[in-house]
């Protein structure tokens, strides 16, 4: 059982480009943390630094109470599941799981017990004598998990373990991994670039971009109170709409002025924030597509033309060209809209987020 702590970790492969810059991350014991971010943002690198497959160029890595910078991977009490599974192709399922235990010189009986138990949990019993080649993608995935499981590590590290599976299997394995976590009560660090996976699995999510942590919090907090434009845009599909404007103050209070519209900000939104530093500055309004509705006939709102209607099932996603920005709105299917038809959208400022355009940080949520 162990938590993980990264303190001021930097990483560069060539001494010039910094892949990870000043990363501080604390993962509690028994926690399920998801590292998420766009491709190339350094998720795998972070995970590999924890695993010991890469050295941190600077900074300290702790697993449990122990600083492990100089500890080889095998002594870090971790197990890793790779994106391509990395099963030993010439070994049977059983031997794949036995490999690490044999190296630990575990006695045969205990080894067998562990392997039987793990394959019971993962439903691998019928396949123990098969080689990986003769398994389906989902079964291989289970073997990879099993190989980690038998070691009974303090920390599980998983690097996009589901990305090679089809959508249905991915859903199934997703909940199995979550169940596994509940059952084992060990620390899980899970890398993915899929924000849906992150939202559904993570107890806490660490959103990364360009080697930095953008926000690290519970899924609901990331969704409801994104700390910056990046997180706001990254979490949630369809993406949050961004409408640029200028923050103004007059007799009626604070408002955002935007292409002739004035969006009055309800007082309770800025009860805890001082808006004065942002007066007359460029800001961005963020509205989730679910909160952007078709306006009543003849009412004021964002008037544009329909660009695309995409059926999602019970609802439809509407893309509206509004002053050359595309806004997406989730509307009832029967709305009956045609391409290029004029349409007016409206939203309640109570549901809006506001960001400083310069720093991209949230002003209020």
């Amino acid at each position: 059982m162990a938590g993980i702590k990264l303190v001021n970790v930097d990483k560069s492969y060539d001494g010039k480009n910094w892949i990870i810059k000043d990363l501080n991350l604390e993962i509690n014991d028994e926690e399920f943390v998801v590292l998420v971010g766009p491709s190339g943002c350094g998720k795998s690198t972070t995970l590999r630094i924890i695993a010991g497959l890469e050295d941190a160029t600077d900074g300290d890595v702790y697993i449990g109470e122990k600083r492990v910078n100089d500890t080889p991977p095998k002594d870090r009490d971790i197990a890793m599941v790779f994106q391509n599974y990395a099963l030993y192709p010439h070994y049977t399922v059983y031997k794949n799981m036995a490999f690490s235990l044999k190296l630990k010189r575990m006695d045969k009986k205990e080894m067998d017990e562990r392997i039987q138990a793990a394959s019971e949990i993962l439903g691998l019993k019928p396949y123990l004598d098969r080689k990986p080649r003769a398994l389906s993608g989902g079964q291989r995935q289970r073997v990879a998990l099993g190989r980690a499981l038998v070691r009974q590590p303090a920390v599980f590290l998983l690097d996009e373990p589901l990305s090679n599976l089809d959508a249905k299997l991915r859903n199934q394995m997703r909940s199995e991994i979550s169940k596994l976590h509940k059952r084992l009560k060990t620390t899980f660090v899970y890398v993915t670039h899929d924000q849906v996976e992150a939202m559904t699995m993570g107890e806490r999510i660490c959103v990364m971009n360009e080697g930095r942590i953008m926000q690290y919090d519970k899924p609901q907090v990331l969704y409801d109170q994104p700390a910056n434009l990046f997180v706001a845009g990254f979490m949630g599909t369809p993406q949050m709409n961004f409408i640029p404007g200028v923050l103004k103050k007059d007799d009626s209070g604070w408002s955002v002025e935007e292409k002739g519209h004035r969006h009055l900000i309800p007082e309770k939104k800025y009860a805890d924030v001082d808006l004065t530093p942002f007066e007359d500055k460029n800001v961005v309004i963020g509205v989730r597509p679910e909160k952007l509705n078709l306006a009543e006939k003849d009412s004021v709102g964002l008037a544009g033309t329909v660009d695309l209607v995409e059926l999602l099932g019970a609802e439809a996603q509407l893309l509206v060209n509004y002053n050359d920005t595309l806004l997406s709105a989730i509307v009832p299917v029967h709305s009956n809209l045609e391409i290029d038809a004029p349409v007016t959208l409206a939203f309640d400022m109570n549901d809006a987020h506001l960001f400083d355009q310069e720093t991209e940080n949230a002003i209020f949520n």
């Binding site: 695993a51 010991g52 497959l53 080889p72 991977p73 095998k74 971790i78 197990a79 890793m80 790779f82 994106q83 391509n84 990395a86 099963l87 030993y88 192709p89 010439h90 490999f99 690490s100 190296l103 630990k104 190989r147 070691r151």
Partner: protein, 287 residues
């Protein structure tokens, strides 16, 4: 569809023509490459009188087939040459495999300065005409006093090693690094990872390389001819060329000896052609 359109029919006719043409080309090519072997084979069973007779010279099948040429060459020094060939080829193969495997593994796994340059150099060396390096190698062997010995294997390997390294590098590259990382996390050290994970997976590559090296050494002529002038150390290809008298070339015996040299190569290729081809091409595409 009872009637086909004329366009479709024309297209199909053209397809047939293309096919006939392709088959013709293939047959022609096969004839050109296989005929000499067939000719050598039939010649080896013809008595000398038939080989040179004006009427019988062009017969495909001998009228009075004989094994006299085989008896002659097998009684006359060829067994020693065959023995030499085996010694030299096997030693070369073992040595090349050992060196190529280790160096190719390092090249494929470690990043170091000048790696591309090194690989390019290896490739360039393998493309040097043998005639150019024979001279220096002769001087070297002369200086070391190892002319006329089985040390010729060392010279052989300078010819076969580059290709072997290239093939092995391709093979090692096709083994995902994550396997080694998994082994590392599982607690295997470098040597155990090599012996338990990497080498078993590279086995097809090692095998291919071994076979190709063996064949190349078996067929090698120039180096033995130059470095081992002593008959005692002649390999089969060289021994064959000495099958002549002052005035005549003993075609019958040469044919018989040639058949004998070809046999091992032929057996190996026929048995292992699938592995050889997949061994050469694997690593070329990502799976």
């Amino acid at each position: 569809m009872s009637k086909r359109s004329p366009g479709l029919r024309r297209m199909q006719r053209r397809k047939t023509y293309t096919k006939v043409f392709a088959v013709f080309i293939i047959l022609l090519f096969l004839f050109i490459s296989v005929f000499p072997f067939v000719w050598v084979l039939t010649t080896s069973f013809k008595p000398s009188s038939e080989i040179f007779g004006s009427r019988t010279a062009f017969n495909m099948i001998a009228e009075n087939p004989t094994t006299e040429h085989y008896q002659y060459v097998l009684g006359k020094g060829l067994p020693k040459a065959i023995f030499n060939s085996f010694i030299v080829s096997i030693v070369t193969t073992l040595y090349v495999i050992f060196v190529a495997t280790l160096s190719a593994y390092l090249i494929s796994r470690f990043r170091f300065k000048g790696k591309r340059m090194l690989l390019g150099l290896v490739l360039a060396v393998s493309m040097f005409p043998q005639m150019i390096i024979v001279g220096p190698i002769y001087n070297m062997f002369y200086g070391l006093g190892i002319l006329n010995s089985y040390w010729v294997s060392l010279a052989y390997s300078s010819i076969t090693l580059p290709t072997a390294v290239w093939i092995m590098v391709a093979h090692f590259k096709s083994i995902p690094i994550s396997l080694e990382e998994a082994a590392r996390i599982d607690g295997a050290g470098m040597m155990r990872t090599l012996s338990h994970i990497i080498f078993p997976l590279a086995a097809p590559g090692v095998f291919t390389t071994a076979i190709m090296t063996f064949i190349a050494s078996w067929n090698e002529y120039l180096l033995t001819f130059t470095l081992n002038t002593d008959k005692e150390f002649h390999t089969v290809p060289v021994a064959i060329t000495s099958l002549r008298t002052q005035f005549t070339i003993l075609w019958g015996q040469i044919a018989a000896a040639t058949v004998i040299v070809i046999v091992p190569t032929l057996i190996i290729v026929l048995l292992f052609q699938k592995q050889i081809i997949s061994g050469i091409t694997s690593g070329a595409v990502k799976e």
